[in-house]
Amino acid sequence: MSGKEYRTITDVKGPLVFLNKTEPVSYGEIVQLMLSDGSIKNGQVLDTSDDQVIVQVFEGTASVDRQTGVKFLGDVFKLPVSKGLIGRILDGAGRPRDGGPDIVADEMADIIGAAINPYSRQSPESFIQTGISAIDACTSLVRGQKLPIFSASGLPHNDIALQIARQAKLVGSDDDFVVVFCAMGITAEEYNFFVHDLERTGALENSALFVNLADDPAVERLITPRLALTAAEYLAFEHDYHVLVIYTDMTNYCESLRQIGAAREEVPGRRGYPGYMYTDLAMLYERAGLVKGKKGSITQFPILTMPGDDITHPIPDLSGYITEGQIVISRELHQKGIYPPINVLPSLSRLMNAGIGDGKTREDHKSVSDQLYAAYAQGRELRGLVAIVGEDALNERDLQLLKFADIFEDQFLRQSRDEDRSISEGTLDLAWNLLSNIDTKYLVRLDQKWIDKYHPTEKSSNEEE
């Protein structure tokens, strides 16, 4: 397209610029704004017609005036991709931030990304061991899954995400993960924390970082995750990498989405978020998975902070309907000093059943996990009852369950930030040890054959016979 420059801006509203009398401009086309001081801003077409074009400006509209020149670049937003992305730190619009050279592109990839044909997907079923018992036993992660961390302000979600990034591995395989890290509106402090940790463990050279910080333009956040996922897709499906995408914080992303919606005077949905937020989030989260005929995979760990710890807020709610489960961080456990404070009861991994069991983790995994849930859930419920009637009113079974809930939190959930437990000896055997505090006849979720084989006391008595 010609490099024609228009000076026909009529309105500027928040992050949006309205202009008229242009040649036909395509929907989604990228745009450059030439300001009078010589600086350049970038944007994208949101709405186009014969009469009017609406452009969303990534860097914000500060100092845009009616004389600002607008150039349509004749193409949709593309990211230069190559293996050279690994080890690099880029800003939220995909420009180098680490002082290094520009990325030499093997290919220019459309950042919107196309939907994977559901028929061409491969079922995710390779267990990823994170070394964190709560996750490995109760919400097992598999390669190709998208499993968000539902957290809230003041909780150690970043530590957990980093611990997963450090420790994640496939049992019985040397394949390493490449980490694509995407920051949206996090503070410089949080960012430094991530970078230092990745540096300390040597993971940085195996990572690609896309960083939009709290003081970077808010609208830019709308493209940052798309850049990160485009890079991830390229690495996974062109170069066979197993990619772990961590993005934080989805809540900031949704805020930006709302900002654009408000500026366009759209009819808002719940709590002012746009009605298309579900579709928009799906277009990010659904870029996880495995496809037939390709070796690589994309596993996603989005982190979102629930405003007011409210899991029914539209952001966690819509996310939960798209992602394959969630890991819920609990303020109550955190205040008890337990790390990682993962509340396994509302946490869930929808792909767990495909990734566990004989030949994958261990044959008794499912039973043990069900039993842990059931016993812990009942134990927690009993705490409420004890607060009213006192422990004396409880029967034998209830007392055992009550005690189990405490032991479970203290010994099973609690582990240190660099403790990497193996699934079989580290996590499942520990679970059996703890479950042996409950009389076997109350362990109704456990198949008798697993009791015979794994129960620490019942098992030994069998062997003596």
Binding site: S49, A115, S120, V267, R270, M283, T312, D317, V389, K441
Partner: protein
């Protein structure tokens, strides 16, 4: 109709405005240089507003818009079964062939294979007077399903010639006196219900093998059910269980705005599943529609209509069809998204004001009917609803509950305790038992309805007792009430809980369900007697044979063993009385 051409005036996401054409409402048009498929959804002065079924970025004002004269239709004929479609009936395997693993745009694909040859066996004869809906020939479409080729709606007359043999679906197999040529394939606009003679009252249950559903909250063939539940409460698993095990002859499964990986699980798993009724692969009787959440939103809107039209077509052949839509909330959100792009005045929570009438129209296409050819066919519709935050006071849940006759209320609390299926027995309901009771008496057991009432009464009493237990602890209750709690626990853990991933437990037929319920009542009766005779509650509850009875349901051949297990349990309970 001239092929008048217009141009694009405006593009805003999936909504495109065109000028220079005057199409009919819901006419299909081709948009832009790539000829993307779209549907006219609003006429506004000289502007036509079009929802486009494919991604619109890169399209410019001034590009052409071409009318087709057709409304959005599906192709109906042999070849539907075992197929996997997107929301506008494009076969996904075909799309993979033409564009690889990512769905790009501007690709057309026929819903049916037009080249494939089928063995057509005429059943009508020369000189027969045939009318709409009448079966004129048969095709063995899959091992288990015979496809009945019907006279298309609005066609009829005397057969001039008809021939059996091998044809593809567009070749003429029958000619009428007035020269009308009939082929195996017909087309039907998806937004119009297919015609039938009359609707019957539903009085035969749809058997699903899921104990809580069949026994406590049954659905009739031709009925409608809604499954609302928060995320993670097992909606999808329940829907898939129904698709696998329900005794409908044809299953249409619509993954509407579903997760890609879960859809893949279904697509991977289904071809390996065996239909318990025929011992043949389940896919033989299944049509799937998969429009995942990141596929274009307008095609998601269309997917439920595509699905129900296919279901009605099989109904017209005289089959019982079960249609699962997972999730109707995603469909409603697609409506909302398009409505907001149209800048329509919103109703509740931003949903369009016509939301509930659209929901009602959709569910109203269910039913057991007398077909045009006089046979009996049904479409049962089971719609999942995903209420935000699990709060069913929102518009989609409410709009659904006003229409459906069965409510299976999923409960996050139960899911958290790993009680599956996590259907709340206290707030779920079915309005069908009245109509179905006679069937149960005739086919299962004369006292079936009474047993059901006893079981549900016990659960109701338990919930009242639990309130007291919350305050004072269970030990403070009199022993007969403690026993009631034990019996109710047995109902929950032994009967209502059912493991969808267990080979045996995943399906129980109605006979077994009845016997399991009887076993529980028998335990209650014996235990009462024993306690009255001086036995300790704890001893009665802990007799080993009761554990055997409960664990036994995971073993093959349970239906043969259950009565022995019950008598053994009763014997041991009696013995516990003597021990004291």
């Amino acid at each position: 109709m001239s092929k008048e051409n217009g141009v694009i005036y405006r593009i805003s996401g999936p909504v495109v405005t065109a000028v220079g054409i005057s199409p009919r409402m819901y006419e299909v048009v081709r948009v832009g240089d790539e000829g993307l498929m779209g549907e006219v959804i609003e006429l506004h002065g000289d502007q036509s507003v079009i929802q486009v079924y494919e991604e619109t970025s890169g399209i410019k004002p001034g590009e052409p818009v071409i009318r087709t004269g057709q409304t959005l239709s599906v192709q109906l004929g042999p070849g539907l079964l075992t197929q996997i479609y997107d929301g506008i009936q494009r076969p996904l395997p075909k799309l993979e062939e033409t564009m690889g693993v990512f769905i790009t745009r501007g690709v057309d694909a026929d819903g049916l294979d037009l080249k494939r040859k089928w063995e057509f066996n005429a059943v009508a004869k020369k000189g027969d007077e045939v009318s709409s809906g009448q079966v004129i020939g048969k095709v063995q479409e899959t091992e288990t399903i015979e496809h009945r080729v019907m006279v298309p709606p609005n066609v009829g007359g005397k057969v001039k010639s008809i021939k059996s043999g091998t044809f593809n679906i567009t070749e003429t197999v029958c000619v009428l006196d007035d020269g009308t040529e009939i082929a195996m394939m017909q087309e039907w606009p998806v937004r119009h219900p297919r015609p039938f003679v009359q609707k019957y009252a539903p009085d035969v249950p749809l058997i699903t093998g899921q104990r809580i559903l069949d026994f406590l909250f049954p659905l009739a063939k031709g009925g409608t059910a809604g499954i609302p539940g928060p995320f993670g409460s097992g909606k999808t698993v329940t829907q898939q269980q129904l698709a696998k095990w329900s005794d409908a002859q044809i299953v249409v499964y619509i993954g509407c705005g579903e997760r890609g990986n879960e859809m893949t699980e279904v697509l991977d798993e289904f071809p390996h599943l065996i239909d318990p009724n025929t011992n043949k692969p389940l896919m033989n009787r299944t049509v799937m529609i998969a429009n995942t959440s990141n596929m274009p939103v307008a095609a998601r809107e269309a997917s439920v209509y595509t699905g129900i039209t296919i279901a009605e077509y099989f109904r017209d052949m005289g089959y019982n069809v079960a249609l699962m839509a997972d999730s109707t909330s995603r469909w409603a959100e697609a409506m909302r998204e398009i409505s907001s792009r149209l800048e329509e005045m919103p109703g509740e929570e931003g949903y369009p004001a016509y939301l509930s009438s659209r929901l009602a129209e959709f569910y109203e296409r269910a039913g057991r009917v007398e077909t045009l050819s006089g046979s009996d066919g049904s479409v049962s519709v089971i719609g999942a609803v995903s209420p935000p935050g699990g709060d069913i006071s929102e518009p989609v849940s409410q709009g659904t509950l006003r229409i459906v006759k069965v409510f299976w209320g999923l409960d996050a609390g139960l899911a958290r305790q790993r009680h599956f299926p996590a259907i709340n027995w206290l707030n779920s309901y079915s309005l069908y038992p009245q109509a179905l009771d006679q069937w149960y008496r005739d086919n299962i057991a004369p006292d079936f309805p009474e047993v059901r009432t006893e079981i549900s009464t016990l659960l109701q009493i338990e919930s009242e007792l639990q309130e007291i237990v919350q305050l004072v602890g269970s030990d403070a209750l009199p022993v007969d009430q403690q026993l009631t709690l034990e019996v109710a626990r047995m109902i929950r853990e032994f009967f209502l809980q059912q493991n969808a991933f267990h080979d045996v437990d995943t399906f129980s037929d109605l006979d077994l369900q009845y016997h399991m319920a009887k076993a529980i009542l028998s335990f209650q009766e014996e235990a009462k007697k024993a306690i009255a005779g001086g036995a300790q509650l704890e001893d009665v509850v802990n007799v080993p044979a009761r554990t055997d009875l409960m664990r036994g349901r995971f073993e093959k051949g349970y239906e043969e063993k259950i009565s022995d297990l019950v008598s053994e349990m009763n014997k041991q309970i009696d013995a516990s009385m003597e021990a004291n």
